[in-house]
Symmetry: C2
Subunit: 263 residues, 2 copies
């Protein structure tokens, strides 16, 4: 497999998709809901996923695609080369804000993340990594992450996980919120992964993410030494929805040990 060629191809495909998304704002966007009333999808999410899939199927007929909108392959195992794609991560932001969303793509070979991309379309900010070759923010190589204590950390965590919920004890999370330097929530898992990898926040956690939300970001995060697992501390799930945390080394362990109690 010539990963350098695939890398160049994927970057150019993502930039082209970004252009299509920016142009889409000239027209009316149709908004629909999926699993629940707040799970939005638009005609643009679907069109962008179809654009990726038709290109990948034609140029890499032996590769598989797992896409958020379901136009890709029915993936049951991580064997072979799989492109894990979220055409628009942060659809609610896309609809309400016309910004703060990203294209997220991870390319995995037999379950190992080889290439990862997060493209903040409206800022034209590109985070990318190839396994073993470091991670980049545009042309700038991202430094390895250093240890930060919770008291100096900014944590990406949505208010809904601090409110009482079905998945997690909320008192230890509330305690984390009080002990950290501050919390943020941006509404795009991919962008929050990019923010952790570039040191803008120190950890990000969510109680419900899908493989396409984290696949690209995890390749980038690993290249700068961030630790990403589910909230049991296990390897992230690339086949099913699961909990998720990514954090600087040290902080990952501190949060999991002291502040996460799954129900």
């Amino acid at each position: 497999m010539n990963w350098g060629t695939i890398d160049k191809y994927a970057k150019s495909l993502i930039k082209e998709a970004g252009h299509k998304i920016r142009v889409s704002f000239f027209n009316t966007i149709d908004v629909d809901t999926k699993a629940d009333a707040n799970d939005l999808v638009t005609n643009i999410d679907k069109a962008i996923e179809q654009f990726f899939i038709s290109r990948i199927q034609s140029d890499f007929p032996n590769h598989f695609v797992l896409g958020e909108e379901g136009f890709g392959d029915d993936i049951r195992s991580l064997d072979g080369v799989i492109w894990l794609l979220d055409p628009i991560d942060g659809t609610m932001n896309f609809v309400h804000q016309k910004r703060n969303f990203a294209i997220s793509l991870g390319i995995y070979c037999d379950g190992v993340g080889m290439l990862g991309y997060i493209y903040d379309v409206m800022n034209d900010d590109f985070y990318h990594a190839a396994k073993g070759e470091g991670a980049y923010y545009n042309d700038e190589k991202l430094p390895m992450l250093e240890v930060t204590p919770l008291s100096e950390a900014i944590i990406g965590v949505n208010a809904s996980w601090v409110a009482p919920n079905r998945r997690i004890e909320n008192e230890p999370i509330a305690d984390m919120v009080h002990k950290c330097r501050g919390t943020r929530s941006y509404g795009s898992a991919a962008m929050e992964l990019a923010y952790v990898s570039s040191g803008r926040i120190d950890a990000y956690l969510s109680l419900r993410l899908s493989p396409w939300d984290i696949a690209g970001g995890m390749v980038i995060a690993e290249e700068v030494g961030a630790i990403g697992t589910n909230l049991k501390g296990e390897k992230p799930n690339l086949l099913n929805q699961d909990t998720f945390i990514v954090a600087r080394p040290g902080l990952h362990d501190e949060i999991l040990r002291n502040h996460i109690r799954l129900k």
Copy 2:
């Protein structure tokens, strides 16, 4: 008073200050703490406030300045012309992220907001308004805000106000978090006010803000019909720290009535 002249002057001063902030990243930034360990201040916050004050004092010797860093006047009443300035709103973002902070400035005459500015320095995004003349995002006039129900609203609220805290009952807030479409937290009150005014989020609330955090944003918000008050529903306090909410019409009332119970 020629407000048109003051408006042009203030805009140009803010742009010059923004340039100084961008240049400051070439050098080391000294970080200090204020009231508590997470209340950060830098040499740049101080230098930018002093830059504003020296210019305003020299060019408008009869005006007063109330600045976050305390180099301005000791303001006890809202009489006369007062410039309410936060040289860097979102200092934690400035330090950790080198983005997502804003210069916030409101110019008030006898307590009435005449001119308001929020400048997202790193994105070069300028939100501005003159009383009675509408609000602008760069050169684009912002439309009047329409009513949005809570179920379709994105609320700017930090996780720390959903965790148990001294100021507010957290159960009704947690209930709001579950009932709204989503929550966000960006770590800059000025930027969140700008986001409400431009319809990117639908409400923003905080349990502790200072006059300089909201003065500029309130002038902008009022021009698009957003309602801003403290959490008792009273006019925002421009002399002291207080609670704060700004929201679309309708939503403001719905949140205050159903989800806010001050301790």
